[in-house]
């Protein structure tokens, strides 16, 4: 006679664990249609750092679960982050939807510059079919 209770316990525990961790993984990368570009194609992936998502309608979110924020709020958040890390060394990835207006991108980039960030990285989506050179 096999006792099933501990097995069921373990199964539910595993399910809860995976549900929680997968939510964390998806949290910072909003579902956007990034520009279809090859990017720099570095052999080793870099640490993402702070991710700023710009949706097609121009809404700015730092993570999926966050409410959209305006530039003033983003400025406050950036100052809070950079007061700990230091802006010059900060790694910032701007993930902007391809359909979003550059007005919003330019505002965010200018805000980063004013906060002391010297360079930024902009997210692209690698096309599925690479065109032959």
């Amino acid at each position: 006679m096999v006792e099933l209770t501990p097995m069921i316990d373990v199964v539910f525990l595993l399910i809860v664990f995976f549900m929680v961790t997968s939510e964390f993984a998806r949290d910072v990368r909003a579902d956007l249609e990034l520009p279809q570009l090859e990017g720099e194609q570095r052999p080793e992936p870099e640490e993402a750092g702070l991710i700023i998502n710009i949706r097609a309608d121009g809404a700015i979110v730092l993570s999926v679960s966050d409410e959209p924020m305006d530039l003033i709020e983003l400025g406050v958040r950036l100052r809070a982050v950079f007061s700990e890390e230091g802006a010059s060394e900060a790694r910032v990835l701007v993930r902007a939807d391809a359909r979003a207006s550059t007005t919003r991108l330019n505002e965010v980039v200018r805000l980063l510059h004013d906060a002391g960030v010297g360079s930024t990285r902009m997210g692209t989506e690698v096309p599925s079919e690479r065109s032959a050179p």
């Binding site: 096999v2 099933l4 097995m7 373990v10 199964v11 595993l14 399910i15 995976f18 549900m19 997968s22 998806r26 990368r29 990034l34 520009p35 570009l37 090859e38 990017g39 720099e40 194609q41 570095r42 870099e46 710009i54 990835l93 993930r95 902007a96 939807d97 391809a98 359909r99 979003a100 207006s101 550059t102 007005t103 991108l105 330019n106 505002e107 980039v109 200018r110 980063l112 510059h113 004013d114 960030v117 010297g118 360079s119 930024t120 990285r121 902009m122 997210g123 692209t124 989506e125 690698v126 599925s128």
Partner: protein
């Protein structure tokens, strides 16, 4: 004296394992992963320095004329302007950039009324042309 050899009756118990529960768990996990998997699209990035117009005009240290690509919308149509040349396609921009000296770097100025797609395409073209130093200058 005769000893009668006692025949030992060894009971052989077959150890059996019920695999049904394990298979249940395996399929349950498999179904969970299939349902919860989000196919993440491969992403990359384009690094560029940031410079605002104010910083650019105040930058007295620069003693050379920077190479500038302007991304503008003329009658709603995006164009890449470099020097006196106005280019409508990315391949043309890439060809022009390949003829320029890469060590000086390039500035990308993007007009505010275009989709992000065109801004990043210009940065990509500069990278493809071999420019290591690409500076993004946001326009008002």
């Amino acid at each position: 004296m005769r000893f009668q050899k006692r025949r030992s009756r060894v009971r052989v118990d077959r150890l059996t394992m019920n695999l049904a529960s394990m298979i249940d768990v395996t399929f349950l996990l498999l179904v969970y992963f299939i349902v919860s998997t989000v196919m993440a699209r491969p992403e990359d990035q384009l690094t560029s320095a940031i410079q605002t117009r104010d910083a650019e005009s105040a930058g007295a240290e620069i003693d050379y004329q920077p190479q500038v690509v302007e991304v503008v919308a003329i009658d709603g149509v995006p164009f890449y302007v470099i020097g006196n040349r106005r280019l409508g396609d990315l391949a043309g921009l890439r060809r022009v950039l390949e003829d320029l000296p890469t060590e000086l770097g390039v500035f990308i100025r993007v007009s505010a009324d275009l989709p992000v797609d065109f801004a990043l395409a210009a940065v990509q073209a500069a990278r493809d042309a071999g420019f290591e130093q690409v500076t993004y200058v946001p326009q008002d």
